[in-house]
């Protein structure tokens, strides 16, 4: 009898305990939201050649921060393939990091979720004010007319990287400045038996970055001023076709690139197999793949005619990383201090040098390191001829839908099917129909 009762009591307690822990799971501090003000969790994006490289770059800085403020920062470097999903999960559960890096193109989408701390004037004043930052970088921190969801951390821009030796062998004296010149130079390079230029045809985000710039050059936008998708605008169709035609018609992009999605085109360039590469702030990446800095030159991305500038002369997106504070953080104060530290002039110099990016902070840009020929082009591009991707809540859906459409078009081109204005429009129309109605 006693044993029966014991068993019964045991069963009840166990189930109660299970139920209690399951309900209590939400409030336990596993994600490290940090009930104690002495710790912070920081999700960094993968900026270096590998996650190990990032840890090596960031850890000394975090130690410095701890020395100054007594706040210990737990670092996790999240690969790009996981970052957005991790943020979404954190948003849904409310269990996330205190501070995190986001791709600046996601700013408006994440802003709409309400998961990130809004950077109103008061918050900005805590990190030295909005004026410390470059305008172009501020343009990618959230939808217009709303308080920004993030603060610029690293800025990057696209440039044309070219292999000096291959161009010289083909008798080309200066890198192409327009697309027509690129195609013409391409023929000469092909005559030398090298391939001309690489794309990441299966990388949805890369595709978006390029077709966005092409659209700008055609004087068009993927969204109407009211923020409605406008993918079938004839100029947009022309722009997307021009990009895919680099493979389909001009044949200066090898068909194999249609399935590239893991930065294989950077490797091709670094190994000297390919003459040119359109990439954002590639120096650190190329170095880690063993390409010497003397071997390549950096030029602005070509335009249709004339020189890079605003409007139709745009030749890059405003690429970059923003730093944001998770609204659910229990240590918003410490998190703000950390953002201030990371965007301070001294840290900006150190970090942007390590990642071969450009500091979005005016005070750090004067450092001679950012005036070297390679970075000067990027800096110039950001200052004069880069445009921010549409800051609309449905930006991430746009990346998926249109990026996939371009991927499919490259697949068609690679398979030898003709890519026509109609086939491009059909793909874009389908992409537009997949966009949320709102």
């Amino acid at each position: 009898m006693r044993s029966i009762r014991a068993a019964a009591v045991g069963a009840v307690t166990m189930s109660l305990a299970l139920a209690a822990t399951a309900c209590g799971g939400g409030s336990s501090d596993q994600g490290g939201s940090g009930d104690s003000p002495k710790t912070l969790t920081y999700w960094a994006s993968n900026q270096g050649a590998s996650i190990a490289v990032d840890k090596k770059v960031l850890q000394p800085e975090l130690d410095k921060f701890q020395q100054r403020t007594g706040i210990k920062v737990k670092l996790e470097v999240v690969p790009w393939s996981d970052l957005l999903n991790r943020i979404l999960t954190a948003t849904t559960s409310g269990q996330g990091p205190d501070v995190l890096n986001i791709g600046n193109t996601w700013s408006a989408s994440l802003q709409a979720t309400g998961a990130l701390l809004a950077w109103d004037d008061e918050n900005y004043s805590k990190i030295g004010g909005r004026d410390r930052f470059v305008d172009s970088a501020l343009g990618s921190t959230g939808a217009q007319g709303k308080d920004p969801a993030a603060v610029p951390l690293y800025s990057m821009a696209y440039a044309l990287y070219y292999n000096k030796q291959i161009l010289a062998d083909a008798g080309i004296t200066k890198p192409p400045a327009t697309w027509d010149e690129l195609v013409a130079d391409g023929k000469k390079i092909e005559a030398e038996g090298k391939s001309v230029i690489g794309v990441e045809g299966a990388n949805v985000s890369e595709n978006i970055h390029h077709v966005f710039v092409f659209a700008k050059q055609h004087g068009a936008d993927f969204f109407t001023p009211e923020g409605k998708p406008d993918f079938t605008n004839p100029k947009v169709v022309d722009a997307v076709k021009q990009y895919v035609d680099l493979m389909a018609k001009d044949k200066i992009v090898p068909t194999g690139d249609a399935e590239y999605g893991q930065n294989q085109s950077v490797s091709d360039f670094a190994k000297g197999k390919q003459a040119m590469l359109l990439w954002q702030s590639a120096a650190a990446n190329l170095k880690s793949q063993g390409m010497s800095e003397d071997a390549y030159g950096v030029a602005p991305v070509p335009v249709r005619s004339g020189v890079p500038g605003t409007g139709a002369q745009t030749n890059s997106m405003v690429a970059g990383i923003n730093i944001a504070v998770f609204k659910n953080s229990h240590n918003v104060d410490g998190a703000t201090k950390f953002v201030k530290f990371m965007t301070g002039d001294a840290e900006q110099k150190i970090l942007n040098k390590a990642y071969s990016s450009i500091p979005p902070v005016k005070g750090a840009q004067g450092d001679p390191a950012f005036n070297a020929p390679a970075t000067a082009v990027l800096k110039q591009t950001l200052a004069t001829s880069a445009a921010a991707l549409p800051q609309v809540p449905s930006e991430s859906q746009f990346e998926t839908a249109v990026g996939t459409a371009v991927k499919d078009l490259f697949a068609d081109a690679a398979a030898g099917r003709t890519v026509t204005t109609d086939s491009v429009r059909a793909k874009l129309e389908k992409a537009q129909q997949q966009m949320p109605a709102a």
Binding site: I4, A7, A11, L18, G114, S396, A414
Partner: protein, 329 residues
């Protein structure tokens, strides 16, 4: 997911009512409730692990759960059957894409299951006779099944590459079967690439199960059949396959469910946006919810898929068990 509804039978009362000489009410209640108490932990766990997430998923499917509401999804507006209507409106792009993906998945699953079963059964039958190195071969056959999925599939990704892949090297460079290297991971061939990997990964399981089933067939049956003059083919048809029937019944169902729901293989092969010819429904739903941040529609599609699998499983079990009851008499 759908196969785990463990049957909880009514507990048999352990003590007959007459056993207690002085029937005290409290004691009887206590004793009668003991089995239920003992079952309680299992019940709570079952609820937590299986039912609660499923119910939440079903609730989500009736909500307009987009990026604007995920932070506090209780506040998301109810959308009634809106998500379902969107998913099954086959004239509109979302429904059309889902239908296409569904049909691709059905075709892919049928082909994969049939091939897995054929290869697995054939291998198991051949491995029945003892010969030197049989153990080694059997172990080798099981390797694809034992490998971690990601590692195995990423190897296939390398082999299927257009420029440096082993597949193109063999088919094009060495055997000259194609005029130019083919694309396997994009375009039309992606379906065959996916099927190849799926069968490669799945048949060892069929092999394992059929091998186990073969051990239960008494050797005398074959001896008797041989004495009666039955050839190998007849033995296979009249003894082996009928004896394997109950094993096959479960095997085919499990293979079907696994293949139909397989997410890892297409995801590792193609990434977030699969090429249309190989757009399996699991990745499609993932894309509809995670990549486009519309969890309501994603959940609605999942529920529809669940219903479909329930119907198929129920129908299959009904058909096969009825068939067995008549033959087993």
């Amino acid at each position: 997911m759908t196969t785990t509804t463990t049957a909880r039978k009514e507990p048999v009362r352990p003590i007959s009512p007459g056993a207690a000489r002085v029937p005290r009410r409290t004691g009887r209640i206590r004793r009668a409730s003991l089995p239920y108490l003992l079952l309680l932990p299992a019940l709570v766990l079952e609820l937590l692990v299986h039912l609660v997430p499923m119910v939440i998923g079903i609730v989500m499917s009736f909500k307009e759960l987009t990026q604007f509401y995920i932070r506090d999804w209780g506040s998301a507006p109810w959308s009634g059957l809106g998500n379902y209507r969107l998913s099954v409106d086959f004239d509109a792009p979302v429904g059309e894409a889902l239908l296409h993906s569904f049909l691709v998945t059905v075709g892919f699953t049928l082909l994969s299951v049939v091939l897995c079963w054929l290869i697995g059964t054939a291998a198991a039958v051949f491995m029945q006779d003892t010969f030197r190195g049989r153990g080694l071969l059997r172990a080798l056959f099981l390797v694809p099944y034992a490998l971690p999925v990601y590692a195995a599939v990423i190897t296939w990704v390398f082999m299927f590459q257009h420029d440096n892949g082993l597949v193109n090297h063999v088919l094009h460079d060495q055997l000259h079967l194609t005029d130019k290297p083919s694309f396997w991971l994009i375009g039309d061939n992606s379906f065959y690439a996916l099927l190849t990997v799926s069968v490669w990964k799945g048949w060892p399981f069929a092999f394992l199960i059929v091998t186990a089933g073969l051990q239960n067939i008494p050797g005398e049956l074959y001896e008797a059949a041989a004495l009666d003059g039955a050839g190998v083919w007849q033995q296979l048809r009249r003894i082996t396959l009928p004896s394997l029937r109950p094993v096959n019944q479960v095997l085919v169902l499990v293979l079907f469910l696994w293949t139909f729901n397989d997410f890892n293989t297409p995801y590792v092969l193609f990434g977030k946006s699969a090429p249309e010819p190989a757009d399996l429904v699991s990745v499609h739903i993932y894309q509809a919810s995670f990549v486009t941040w519309n969890f309501g529609t994603g959940s609605a599609m999942s529920v529809l898929l669940l219903l479909f699998l329930l119907v198929v499983t129920g129908g299959y079990l009904l058909l096969t068990s009825r068939g067995r009851r008549t033959t087993d008499v």
